[in-house]
């Protein structure tokens, strides 16, 4: 005989059902002081990115040959670079690129990866074997390496790199989605639906998808940080965002080349990357702890 023990489902079950989504959000954001601070930082960055044109004192591309490599001053808070462009403004616009990157790639990867994972997990068979094989293969490659190789094919540039990072992230999502689908597929409520004659698309949309989203969302938030870091690394290697568009990675790259002209771009962009990655990591951890306690701590 077994009495009901605490069954563990990797699904979103609000502790306080009345609170619903809001409650979950509250638990994520205000569970820890550090998370709250991280959230504040993320909000700050998002606002900065969204309202970059209003906040940035200058056009980030606007050059001024007579004002190159200036020290920080009241006019240029972080000085100017080798083209006389305002470093502070470039950092602000860089936030835009980095954040669009950080948010868009995991999102796209989550969508495609989930589709693949559900297909593999729910239908099994040849599709599963094929998808799993390729996913395993790609997963064996570190994202950065994969990204470098794909970028070599596609060439650099903002949208290409979004595609690159998306492709590099898809296997991870596909794997999680597949595992979750396999688990959910075994859940009695899915079997119940099948035995009641509910059609497959309805089962996928109504029963499977909503119940695998939590770990996917958790993974997505964690990978925002990775995407930002990857973009920086690729831009640093010269295959990411292309100049003159600022991204933190290529600000560091250009900044290093102009290290003795002005150290402020690398100091600023370095701190910005570290800060925003740190914040997203903290936030991602919190989201995972709440949404998907099953995948470790």
């Amino acid at each position: 005989m077994t009495l009901a023990t605490d069954h563990h489902h990797p699904v979103l079950i609000p502790s306080d059902p009345q609170a619903g989504l809001l409650g979950v959000l509250r638990r994520i954001l205000f569970g820890r002081v550090s998370t709250t601070l991280a959230f504040a930082l993320v909000v700050l960055f998002v606002l900065v990115a969204a309202f970059a044109p209003l906040i940035a004192p200058y056009d980030p591309l606007r050059q001024s040959i007579i004002q190159i490599n200036r020290l920080p001053s009241a006019a240029n808070w972080l000085g100017t670079d080798q083209f006389g462009r305002d470093v502070f403004s470039r950092l602000i616009y860089g936030a835009r690129n980095s954040l669009i990157f950080g948010l868009l790639s995991p999102l796209l990867a989550a969508i495609f990866g989930t589709l693949l994972g559900i297909t593999a997990g729910y239908f099994g068979g040849l599709a599963d074997r094929l998808i799993s094989r390729v996913v395993d293969l790609l997963l064996a490659f570190p994202e950065l390496l994969l990204a470098i190789l794909i970028a070599a094919v596609l060439g650099g540039g903002f949208w290409n790199i979004i595609a690159v990072i998306t492709v590099a992230f898809i296997p991870g999502f596909a794997r999680v989605a597949r595992a979750q689908t396999l688990a959910v597929r075994q859940e009695p409520y899915v079997e119940a639906a099948i035995s009641m004659g509910v059609s497959t698309p309805v089962i996928l949309v109504r029963h499977v998808l909503p119940n695998i989203t939590a770990p996917i969302i958790a993974l997505m938030t964690l990978w925002v940080a990775s995407a930002i870091r990857l973009e920086a690394a690729l831009s640093f290697l010269g295959i990411g965002t292309q100049p003159p568009n600022p991204s933190w990675g290529n600000i560091i790259r250009d900044g290093l080349n102009n290290l003795f002209g002005s150290p402020w771009p690398i100091v600023g962009a370095g701190l910005a990357i570290t800060g925003v990655v740190l914040a997203f990591n903290l936030l991602g951890d919190a989201v995972r702890d709440v949404l998907d306690p099953s995948t470790g701590r």
């Binding site: 293969l137 950065l144 470098i148 070599a152 295959i239 370095g270 990655v277």
Partner: protein, 311 residues
Amino acid sequence: MTRYILTRLLDAIPTVLLVLALVFLAMRILPGDPAIAALGELATPEQLASFRERMGLNEPLWMQFITFVWGVLTLDFGSSLLNNRPVLDLILYNLPYTIELTVAAMLLGTVVGIPLGVLAATHRDRWPDSGVRGFSLIGYAVPDFYLGALLLIAFSLNLGWFPINGGGEGFLDRLHHLVLPAVTLAMVKAAFIGRLTRGSLLEVLSRDYVRTARAKGARENRVIYRHGLRNALLPIATGLGLSTLATLSGSVAIELVFNRPGIGKLLISAIAERDYAVIQGGVVVFALFVVLINLLMDLVYVFIDPRVRVS
């Protein structure tokens, strides 16, 4: 056991072939003309044609692929399109530098990371834990190339303690050249491994058999090392495998920052210069690394986990 290893080896073959096919195809659709890259902008059409002829760039694609795979099997990766050096030589020269960097970084990272993780897990929610968590979060967030550049400026340029360029010749000189890049990568590794160790150990310490060990009257040290850490080694080993591969790819940027020889730098240069043969060679090396390390991890698993041994 041997059977298992054999099966895993067999299993790796299609993987390697798939990788080779992908690499090969990827190279063929790269923009840019390798002939122009090799001969320069002023080269005449005849020269370009004869170059393409010589390098087999005019053969049908499948022919080139067969030549390529055969080359890989016989360790003949062709010669650099740019300076005619055999790619194998280039790889053999660069590989040790990448390996020594990766190994040094992993060793350093592990030696620092695991104790940190244990410290954090055994002092959960107290200040050592917060300290380690803070360290690993920051280590996680700082881009390695950034850290590398800062260390380079601080310790090589300003203090003059370490050399600035190259990989060094001779044991001591190489070691001297290795310190800063290895420390850079190791800081990031230590953060990762510390965090991983903490997580796995906490997870293991909440297991029932740890409670059993306590019920036996075991001392805390015995509980943590014999029953905790040993079992936590499984996830840690997997993590280390992944981390080794990540270090390998992280070394690409580090080799650039420190201007060290290495497969990463070789590859990035080759990509920039469209040196097909070298790109292919470099990617094959990385791919083999990936397969090899995954294989190694599987074997380590078999070694430490009796449960895998039977199945």
